[in-house]
């Protein structure tokens, strides 16, 4: 565990700045489609982008107001949290290409290993069961269309 000061504030400020710049750039792209300077699809992204940039700058330059120290999880827990986030992001990216069944099986498998600390054989068994159960529930019973990939 590492004690940190100011990092959450600065991270928030940079995220705000990034989102604001993205929004302003998008507003500039939409500007030619306007009906008027103050009317069109560009106006709100532009305004919100400017607000986010200004708020991000203020947050970045603001003095630390409290003596609270945040503790950034490190060691095994930190690695687990990073791995969990990585699995979820990979799942989002993979599901469109590999389809629901394969990507969900893999995501469950790794999440059970990482979060639940299950043994590999148990993780394979439970992830297979969960994937089949969810497939039956959503695809067969509730007729929800699930992504098909290059596998099935």
């Amino acid at each position: 565990m590492r004690k940190i000061a100011g990092i959450p504030r600065k991270t928030g400020a940079f995220i705000s700045l990034f989102l604001g710049i993205v929004s302003v750039v998008e507003a500039a792209r939409l500007y030619p489609y306007r009906t008027d300077f103050w009317a069109g699809d560009h106006i709100f992204p532009g305004l919100i982008g400017a607000i986010l940039v200004a708020a991000g700058l203020f947050l970045l330059l603001k003095r630390e107001e409290s003596s609270r120290r945040f503790v950034l999880p490190g060691g095994k827990i930190g690695r687990k949290m990073t791995a969990t986030a990585g699995v979820l992001i990979s799942y989002c990216l993979l599901i469109g290409y590999a389809g629901y069944v394969f990507s969900t099986f893999l995501a469950f498998l790794f999440l059970l290993r990482i979060i639940g600390n299950y043994r590999w054989p148990d993780s394979v068994l439970f992830s297979g069961l969960f994937t089949c159960a969810l497939y039956l529930l959503f695809s067969e019973f509730l007729k929800t269309p699930l992504p098909n990939g290059f596998l099935f």
Binding site: S16, G20, S23, Y33, R34, P45, I48, L52, L88, L142
Partner: protein
């Protein structure tokens, strides 16, 4: 008076043993479907519509009403027990209900949510029947300026209640606005914030954001706290005690009134 007679006639129609059985079945099925994250009352009705086809029209409507209210309540179950709201309307339930579940009082929270939902539903029904003609006229007078003022008020309340830092509240509200921009532009018909990705061109679903923020945060917090179970004890009883009922009485009345007046506005 005539409206009241129609309402009583409706109750007379519904209050037969078979119709009550149908409404109970609809509520149970609706609750089960509503527990699934992302499946709200409207989706539940759409999914279960074929089931009602085999029934008479009146019984079909009765079952659909049961499914609707069951799905509405089902969303609050995961919100209270797992801090994962099944739909956007369950978010306030998660904010108050989940801390109770962490204290081992998930059963009482589920009971209060059910009682509150029932009381507000009955109040809304009676209020709508009695005041519908007057309120409908007023609701239709709500135009863009009134909606703008209402949303501005909502944002001001958000800035006020969301913590000590005004700056962070502004960023939070603005980021929420930003998420709502994705999709086809209303004025030009040009895709906004989609960058050629078809999923983004259809807009970002509020429920996806809610589940993402609440569920993933909860999983990561659980990892940090090395938590194995949310509720440390089994839920033995769901009926709240006298003290719980006393304390939740006024919030239920406030929520019923607020929900009723906001619910009659078109688009809310």
């Amino acid at each position: 008076m005539e409206t009241l007679l129609f309402l009583l006639n409706g109750f007379q129609e519904v209050l037969t043993p078979f119709n009550l059985l149908i409404v109970a079945a609809g509520s149970v099925v609706g609750t089960i479907v509503g527990v699934l994250p992302g499946v709200g009352p409207t989706s539940a009705i759409a999914i279960l519509l074929p089931v009602t086809m085999v029934l008479d029209p009146v019984q079909g409507i009765i079952m659909m009403a049961g499914i609707y209210y069951g799905a509405m309540y089902g969303g609050s179950t995961t919100a209270i027990l797992m801090n994962i709201p099944g739909e956007s309307s369950s978010v306030p339930t998660a904010l108050d209900g989940y801390p109770l579940a962490r204290k081992g009082r998930g059963g009482a929270a589920l009971g209060i949510a059910a009682i509150g939902s029932f009381a507000a539903g009955i109040f809304g029904l009676i209020g709508l029947v009695l005041l519908a003609p007057v309120l409908a006229d007023q609701a239709l007078k709500f135009g863009p300026p009134e909606y703008f003022v209402l949303l501005l008020m909502a944002l001001l309340i958000l800035f006020n209640i969301s913590g000590r830092s005004f700056l962070k509240s502004v960023i939070m509200g603005a980021a929420g606005f930003l998420a709502s921009f994705a999709g086809i532009g209303l004025s030009s018909g040009v895709p906004r914030f989609s960058w050629g990705i078809p999923v983004l061109a259809g807009g970002i679903e509020l429920i996806s954001i809610i589940i993402g923020f609440f569920a993933i945060t909860e999983v990561l917090k659980g990892l940090e706290e090395r938590r194995v179970r949310i509720q440390q004890e089994h839920i033995k009883r769901t009926f709240p005690g006298k003290e719980d009922l006393k304390r939740s009485g006024m919030p239920i009345v406030r929520g019923s009134l607020l929900g009723f007046f906001l619910g009659i506005l078109p688009g809310f």
